[in-house]
Symmetry: C2
Subunit: 420 residues, 2 copies
C-alpha cells in the first residue's frame, strides 16, 4: 500500500498518486462534481469526486492523483480518487465542525467535548498547550532539572485547610493533593533542581471563568539560590522556552490568528511597596485586579514588556513557608509574574531551616504535628531554595486570548461538571 501523506504535505506531491486519510470535514455536491474536504491532524485536503459524498465525520481513506489547483485549500487537490470508508458515523455532531468558529454555547461545547475538540481551532489550542509544556521541560532539562512524579493522595490537607477533596483510602481519611509543594521542596534535597507537570486538585466552590477543580500545574523548585531573583531568572528562561516552542507551531498559530509575544532578556520587576506608591494605594496587603492591569500597562509603556514581576509581597498574604526579606521582614522574598494585566505565575524563596518552620507555624497558630512529615526533611540539611507554579490552562488561555479557562481544558472539572 502507498504510504499515507498528511494533508499539510499534499502540495509537495503534485503529479503523484498518494493516499490520504481522515474525516469528511465538509462535502459540497454540485451538479456534475462533488468536493470532499478531508480533515486530518495536520489540516485539510480537497478530493474531487463524482456522485454523492458521505456525511460529515465519516472516516475515509482516499487514494488519488495530486494536481495543482489554485482554488483548492493548500493549492492542490486529489482527483481520480478511490475512496474507502473506514468508519461511518451514526449521528451528526450537534454543531458544524467545518464553520470557521464553533457556533454553540459553552455548555453544549463542553457536554460534547470529544467531538467539539475536532474543530481545527480547538485542536490548535491544545497543540499550543502541548508545545508549551514541551518547551517548559526542555528548558528545565537543559538547566539540570530532574522530573519527578509525586503522590496525589496525601494524608493531610497541608496547603490550606479548605478547598480539599476528601477520599476514602482503604478505610482511612485521605485527600487529593492541592499542589506538589512539599514534595518538590523535599526533592531539592535529592536532585537540587526538580520540576513536575501534573494534575492538582482544588475543591473550588467558586463558579467563575478562572476556577477549575482539577488543573495541570507546572511546578519547579531549585536549591542553592541567593534569593527569589535566582528563581525569577529560571522562570524567565522557562517562559522563553515555552514561548519559543509555541512560536514553532506556526500552523496552529495561523489557525488561531495569534502571535506569540516576546519576552525580554530580563523581565522588568517592581517591588510591591513601589508598585503601591506608583498606583497611589496605601496599606493594602495585596493587589486588586485593577492594580495588576495598571501595572502591566505601566510595564508595557515604560519597559516595552508584556511581562512584569512584582516582588516582595507582604508576608501576611503569602503561605507560611515563604522566606521573609531579611532586610524588611514584613515583606517576603516572593513574586508574582504578571502577563497582560493578569497574574500568571506565583513563586518565591522558601524557608529552609527546621527552626524557621517551627517559628513560622507557631506565629500563624498552625499545629506543627499536622506538618510533621513535611518538616522532617528540614532536620537533615536543606539548602536555600525556592520555586514557582504555573497553571497550564491559565497559561494557554492568556496566551491565546481565550476568556474562559474551561475552553483551554480538554475535559474540565468544576462545581457543576463531572462529565464527560
Amino acid at each position: 500500500m502507498i504510504s499515507r501523506v498528511m494533508a499539510v504535505d499534499l502540495r509537495a506531491h503534485v503529479g503523484r498518486r498518494v493516499r490520504v486519510a481522515g474525516w469528511v470535514h465538509r462535502r459540497r455536491e454540485l451538479k456534475s462534481v462533488t468536493f470532499l474536504v478531508v480533515r486530518d491532524r495536520t489540516g485539510v485536503a480537497q478530493v474531487v469526486t463524482s456522485g454523492s459524498g458521505m456525511p460529515e465525520e465519516t472516516v475515509i481513506e482516499v487514494c488519488g492523483d495530486v494536481v495543482a489547483s489554485t482554488q483548492a485549500p493548500g493549492g492542490s487537490e486529489i482527483t481520480s480518487p478511490e475512496i474507502t470508508v473506514l468508519s461511518a458515523p451514526t449521528a451528526a455532531p450537534p454543531f458544524d465542525l467545518y464553520r470557521p468558529a464553533l457556533s454553540a454555547t459553552l455548555p453544549t461545547i463542553l457536554d460534547n467535548a470529544a467531538v467539539a475538540l475536532r474543530h481545527p481551532r480547538l485542536r490548535a489550542q491544545f497543540e499550543i498547550a502541548a508545545a508549551s509544556v514541551a518547551g517548559f521541560r526542555s528548558t528545565l532539562d537543559s538547566l539540570g532539572f530532574t522530573e519527578t512524579h509525586t503522590p496525589k493522595i496525601v494524608a493531610s490537607a497541608t496547603e490550606s485547610g479548605a478547598n480539599v477533596f476528601g477520599i476514602d483510602y482503604f478505610g482511612q481519611r485521605a485527600y487529593l493533593a492541592q499542589s506538589p509543594q512539599f514534595y518538590k521542596q523535599a526533592m531539592v534535597g535529592v536532585f537540587e533542581r526538580v520540576y513536575e507537570v501534573g494534575p492538582v486538585f482544588r475543591a473550588e466552590p467558586h463558579d467563575t471563568a478562572r476556577h477549575l477543580a482539577q488543573y495541570t500545574s507546572l511546578d519547579a523548585e531549585l536549591g542553592f539560590i541567593s534569593s527569589h531573583f535566582d528563581v525569577m531568572a529560571v522562570l524567565r528562561s522557562a517562559v522563553a522556552g515555552m514561548l519559543a516552542a509555541a512560536a514553532a507551531r506556526t500552523q496552529a498559530l495561523a489557525t488561531l490568528e495569534v502571535t506569540v509575544p516576546q519576552v525580554p532578556s530580563e523581565i522588568p520587576w517592581i517591588h510591591f511597596a513601589d508598585a503601591q506608591r506608583l498606583l497611589g494605594v496605601e496599606d493594602e496587603p495585596d493587589l486588586a485586579p485593577e492594580h495588576e492591569r495598571r501595572l502591566s500597562a505601566w510595564a508595557l509603556a515604560e519597559h516595552g514588556s508584556e511581562f512584569l514581576f512584582v516582588t516582595g509581597y507582604p508576608m501576611v498574604k503569602r503561605p507560611f513557608y515563604t522566606h521573609p526579606d531579611p532586610a524588611r521582614p514584613a515583606y517576603s522574598n516572593s513574586f508574582d509574574l504578571l502577563f497582560r494585566g493578569l497574574e500568571l505565575v506565583t513563586g518565591g524563596q522558601r524557608l529552609h531551616t527546621h527552626s524557621a518552620y517551627l517559628e513560622a507555624l507557631a506565629a500563624r497558630g498552625l499545629p506543627a504535628e499536622a506538618y510533621a512529615s513535611y518538616l522532617d526533611v528540614f532536620k537533615y540539611g536543606m539548602p536555600p531554595h525556592g520555586g514557582f507554579a504555573l497553571g497550564l490552562e491559565r497559561w494557554t488561555s492568556r496566551l491565546l486570548g481565550v476568556a474562559n479557562i474551561r475552553q483551554t481544558t480538554l475535559f474540565p472539572r468544576d462545581l457543576h461538571r463531572l462529565n464527560p
Copy 2:
C-alpha cells in the same frame, strides 16, 4: 562571586579557584588534616581542610583551589578552602548515606524517603526514570503525537467495578481514574495520535512487591492503524527511545552498575496459541508467570532478544473494548510485551464502531448506560485505533533489576502506606 562548579566537572578546573556547593557526604578527621566529601546532584568532590569538619548532611559552600590528586574521587580535590555553612542539620539521618548501599529495612527507607533518596544509588534510579520518560515523549513527539492532560476525577468506575477510590465531589459520588483509556481513545478523534504521562489510581487490596495504589502510567493511542502490529511498531520505537535516553545517563548507570539492553529493530513476536503449543499448555486463557519466564528464555535463545511480543490473547481475558482478530474471533488483536520474563506493557487494537461497543457490552452483560459518555464519541466516526500503557515504576524496576516496585517510586502509596 565565582560561579559554581559541579562536582562532576571539577577535574576540568585543575589549577583554578572554584566554588562548589552541596552536602557534607562524609567527613574523615585525621591527625593533621580533615577530608570533607561534598555531594552535589552530579557526584562528590573532596575538600582538604584542617580542624574538625561538620556533621554529615550539613549544607556548605566551598571556595578553594582545584589540584590534581590520584587518591581523590574523580582525580582532583579542593585545597585552601573557605567554607561557608548554608544550613546545619539538627538531626543525623537514620542511616549512613555515604555507604555504598543504604543499609536499612525497606519500611525504614520508605518512612524516611525524603532523606533516603539522597543516597547516590537511589537518586540515580530516578534519574534513569526521568530520562526514560523524556525518551518516551521525544520519540512520540517525533512521530506526530500530541500530549494530553485528562481528568483524574471521573463520574463512573469504567475500567472495572472494583479497585476504585471513591471521592466526595461537591456532594456527588465520583472516582479516581484507573486509567486515561477512554479519554485517549476519544482524543484519537482529534489528534489521531496522543500520549499522556500521569498518575493512575488503583484501590489495590493486594500487598505485593508489584502493586501500588498510585503509579505513573505512560499511555499512548493512535488512529488509522491496520491492526495491533502498527501499535507494536510504535511501542518498539518508544521503548528504543526510552532505552537510548537511559543509556545516555552514563554516570547514573555506572553508579547503579547497570547496562541498558538492546532492543532489536523488530521485536520478535509469537501468537498466544503458538506460545501455548511451545509451552505444552492447553486450554488456559492466560499465561502463568512461569510461562512468561519460559517464553522470554525462548526469545533470548531463539532470537537473541530480551523483548518478546505475545499477540492474540483470548478475548475472554481482555477488556470489552478489545478488537477481536477478524480471522479468529476467539482471539484478540492485542499483545503483551514481555521483558526479561515479565510482562512490561499491555496493548492492542480497540473496537471503533458504536455498534461494536453496544454488542461487546451486551455480550458481557455490562449496562450501556453506565458507559454512555464514553460511547458517544463512537457515534461520530472513529478510525481504527489502538494503543498501549506502560507503568513507569515497573519499567524502572525491571530495567534496573530492583525487586520491589516501591523502591522505584519516590513516595509510594499502598494498602498500608499514606506517608510521607
